[in-house]
């Protein structure tokens, strides 16, 4: 069952079009990430859902009610939206308790509900404090508790983790995911960080040129992007020329099995090989190549290698786990694993 539906949404600021026909259906109880580079219009989309801005055309439906359409407009305060902006935006003049209780009817503001919400986000006992006495991560959790306290039909989060330190981000992200799962909340989160989108969301909507380019599970989006551009946006990608024949693609990395989901006619194709689909061997079968650069990241290492057979072609990116340090110029043997995804090449 869907909880949020957006169809044919258009929005321009002056002569500059931002959204040019967005269609999206978010299932109830799921967490959807809207992923797009900065300036792609993702925050605008979120603000339209919340009702802070009005679209030029299109409809937005929350639950069964049309909240924005040619003939309807429901004000933000009557949409039952839990909104968590980038900086958390706690009311600086109110205590944590008063912040969480802000959207509740006056008699519930002092009841056990506020305490329960704070417990749920792991901040029991912080009620009397003021926002400036909290760390960034704690502020973000209070903002979340405040949004969830009104039992919203939909929670909207605008880059909620962007202002947190890297080491905090992962733990707060996991906490938020857990809180939503337990409450069965339908949520839409906006982010420019593909890592964040893939790790937190049930489904990811990739926003490009004012439209949803693809709406799929993280696994699908990563392994089977709709085109080569999207493949490079979602992560590191090797785009190779290949020839498809009877379910197998012949590339510079050898003949690889084609992903069954890619229903393609035989012929010239562009093949997507992710860096971690390639492994290095010290000998035996494989494609001989030379290392051109080596970047160490601790948990893994990313290499650029040049196949010997194609010294003028594009370098290939490989991700390996291990501690061996490879100097530029070292010879290596490449072995690629299928299945791989491909698109027709024109």
């Amino acid at each position: 069952m869907r909880q949020l539906a957006v169809s044919g949404l258009y929005k321009a600021f002056g002569a500059h079009p931002v959204l040019t026909g967005v269609d999206l259906e978010v299932p109830a109880g799921s967490l959807t990430a809207i992923l797009g580079p900065s300036g792609s219009g993702k925050t605008t989309l979120l603000r339209l859902m919340a009702g802070f801005e009005r679209p030029d055309a299109g409809t937005i439906t929350i639950g069964d009610a049309v909240v924005d359409g040619p003939a309807e407009y429901v004000a933000p305060e009557r949409r039952r939206i839990g909104y968590v902006p980038q900086e958390g935006s706690l009311f600086p003049h109110l205590s944590v308790e008063a912040n969480v209780g802000f959207g509740l009817p006056a008699r519930q503001r002092r009841g056990g509900k506020v305490g329960a919400m704070l417990e749920a986000v792991g901040l029991g006992g912080f009620g009397r404090r003021y926002p400036h006495q909290l760390s960034g991560g704690q502020q973000q959790r209070v903002a979340l508790a405040r949004a969830l306290a009104i039992e919203p039909a939909l929670v909207l989060l605008d880059e909620p983790f962007a202002s947190l330190d890297a080491h905090l981000r992962a733990s707060v992200r996991a906490d938020v995911q857990e809180i939503f799962r337990r409450a069965g909340t339908t949520a839409v989160l906006v982010t420019h960080d593909q890592d964040e989108a893939l790790s937190i969301a049930d489904r990811v909507a990739a926003l490009r040129d004012g439209q949803i380019a693809q709406y799929a599970t993280p696994e699908d989006l990563y392994a089977r992007p709709v085109d080569a551009d999207l493949a490079t946006f979602i992560g590191d990608a090797n785009l190779l020329e290949g020839v498809l024949n009877a379910g197998a693609v012949k590339t510079i990395l050898g003949t690889l099995l084609l992903d069954e989901a890619a229903a393609l006619p035989d012929g010239q194709v562009t093949v997507l090989v992710r860096p971690e689909q390639i492994e290095l061997a010290s000998g035996g079968d494989g494609i001989p190549a030379k290392v051109t650069s080596y970047g160490y990241h601790g948990h893994d290492a990313v290499l650029r290698v040049q196949p010997e057979r194609d010294a003028d072609g594009p370098a290939i990116t490989v991700r390996i786990i291990g501690e061996q340090r490879l100097r530029p110029g070292s010879p290596v043997i490449l072995r690629a694993r299928g299945p791989v995804y491909a698109w027709p090449r024109d």
Binding site: A50, F52, P55, D56, A75, E77, S89, H93, F102
Partner: protein, 529 residues
């Protein structure tokens, strides 16, 4: 998405233009406020037209205008320069050196702002008769208004990035060169802003120059108006407005397009204060002299006349009148302050929250008022209501209050804008998403956060209205007196001992809001830094 659907959608857009929301109500109210602000200038032009173009021409181009121009310009130039030097030097010593008792000096140096200029000149002139003419005007006005330069420069030095000075030193620039090129460069905008205020005050001053026997455009307009030479007042007002607008334009040109920017995170890092060493004794002596002359003399003089002067002519009568005058002062000042703050709210809201083109337009309309000296606004309003509006509103307290509200609107706007910057739009949006309608958001969030700043704006206007003399004398309803006008009537009759208590009460009434203001801007500077 097929192109067919796209065209379809666009037709739909044309059918429902209401879907793009603009702050229509806010815009309408702001334009109304701007129109009210433009009224004095419009009235003045109508009056000039009514007086006849050739008559006005004749009155503008006569020898008197030349004398007034010379008097006004040379005084403005000398005092502005003196204030720039004293204000900047004092601010630098307080903010950047290890001057003993810096916190106390920061207050003592600013307090003279609370003493009306005409009280300062009364203080000097009543004690020493040689304090008059050009020399007297330069000394008295410099002592009365240098805090207008000190305040913005001190705030700017406090907020400036010490990193820039350190980089300059590391690049081989000497201490003096660094001070001139970096420190003064960072404070340039603040110094110019302060000088602008000083120049505008000088162009608009009446009472102090009347006491000191120094003739400027403003004193002459006043005299002509009281002598019922309306065409002459009108002609001189036009010249004065042009002069003020020239000052405004000059400040804009000097300021240039450069902006002081601060790179990196806005952490408040303070460079270690400069060690004064033995020079702290002469510096301390200069500060003591400054406070003594600017603050000590006027207060001591008022106390002297009250305690030691001739006995009051009417025993007990002055007391009743003091209470009565204080009541009217508070009533007029309070109402005007509330009105100006309310008028500034929508304009500030539009400037802070919405487009930049609107902001420019509205800031220009504020400039229109800044360029209109109080005497001109009062003259335009009173003459217009008497002559063209069939006396509607003439001689009522409403007209005086409206005049105050228009005159001090720019001050209110500064305060309200600063306060709204503390209530960002994102908080309003969160509140609305939590089920609060616009009115509830305004009461529970915006006004709560902007409250202290709104109070500061109110204080700023109240303080200015309490110490205002020129427009008050022209517009005060018959039979009523404020502290300023009652002081003035005693002073002009040379009843110094009766005038003194009014001066002292005015100083006290004005000192309280100035203290509140100082605290507010001090804290907001720290909060931003």
């Amino acid at each position: 998405m097929a192109t067919g659907t796209l065209t379809e959608r666009h037709t739909e857009v044309r059918a429902i233009p209401a879907r793009t929301r603009r702050p229509a109500a806010l815009l309408a109210v702001s334009v109304l406020v701007a129109a009210v602000l433009a009224l004095p200038l419009v009235f003045l032009l109508i009056e000039a037209h009514g007086a006849g173009v050739s008559d006005v021409n004749h009155l503008v181009f006569r020898p008197l205008t030349g004398t007034l121009l010379w008097n006004t310009v040379r005084l403005t130039a000398v005092v502005t320069l003196a204030c720039a030097v004293i204000g900047t030097a004092a601010a630098w010593c307080v903010e950047r050196t290890d001057l003993p008792g810096r916190r106390a000096w920061a207050v003592l140096v600013v307090v003279p702002l609370a003493i009306p200029d005409f009280v300062v000149s009364f203080g000097w002139n009543s004690l020493w008769a040689w304090m008059h003419g050009f020399r007297g005007a330069v000394i008295v006005m410099t002592l009365a208004v240098y805090p207008l330069v000190y305040l913005p420069v001190a705030a700017s030095l406090r907020g400036a990035d010490p990193g820039q000075e350190e980089v300059a030193r590391s690049l081989g620039s000497s201490r003096l060169r660094t001070f001139v090129r970096i420190t003064l460069g960072q404070a340039k905008g603040a110094i110019l802003g302060g000088c602008l205020l000083v120049a505008l005050v000088l162009l608009a001053e009446y009472g102090a120059f009347e006491i000191l026997g120094y003739q400027t455009f403003t004193t002459e307009i006043f005299t002509e108006f009281n002598g019922y030479s309306f065409a002459a007042s009108c002609a001189l007002s036009l010249v004065l407005v042009v002069l003020s607008l020239l000052v405004l334009a000059g400040e804009g040109l000097l300021r240039g397009r450069g902006r002081v920017s601060r790179s990196g995170p806005m952490t408040q890092r303070i460079s270690p204060p400069l060690q004064l060493g033995w020079t702290r004794w002469p510096v301390l002596a200069l500060f003591t002299a400054l406070a003594g002359l600017a603050l000590g003399v006027p207060v001591a003089s008022a106390v002297y006349w009250m305690v030691d002067g001739q006995p009051p002519l009417l025993a007990g009568g002055a007391n009743v009148s003091l209470l009565d005058a204080a009541g009217h002062t508070a009533l007029y000042g309070g109402t005007a302050a509330a009105l100006a703050t309310v008028m500034a709210f929508p304009v500030a809201m539009l400037a802070i929250r919405h487009g930049s083109r609107m902001r420019h337009f509205l800031e220009r309309s504020t400039y229109l008022v800044l360029g209109m000296p109080g005497v001109v606004i009062a003259f335009a309003l009173s003459y217009f209501t008497e002559r063209y509006a069939a006396g509607f509103g003439y001689g009522t307290s409403a007209l005086l209050i409206a005049c105050y509200a228009i005159m001090f609107f720019p001050l209110a706007l500064v305060g309200v804008k600063a306060s709204l910057a503390r209530a960002p739009a994102s908080l309003d949006e969160v509140a609305r998403s939590l089920g609060q309608n616009r009115l509830a958001v305004l009461c529970r969030v915006t006004l709560r956060l902007a409250g202290p700043g709104l109070a500061a704006a109110f204080c700023l206007v109240f303080l200015s209205a309490v110490t205002e003399l020129t427009a008050t004398l022209l517009l005060i309803p018959t039979g009523t007196q404020t502290l300023a006008t009652q002081f003035w009537s005693y002073e002009t009759n040379l009843s110094y001992s009766q005038a003194a208590p009014f001066a002292l009460v005015m100083i006290v009434v004005a000192a309280v809001p100035s203290y509140v203001l100082g605290r507010f801007f001090d804290r907001s500077a720290h909060a931003q830094g």
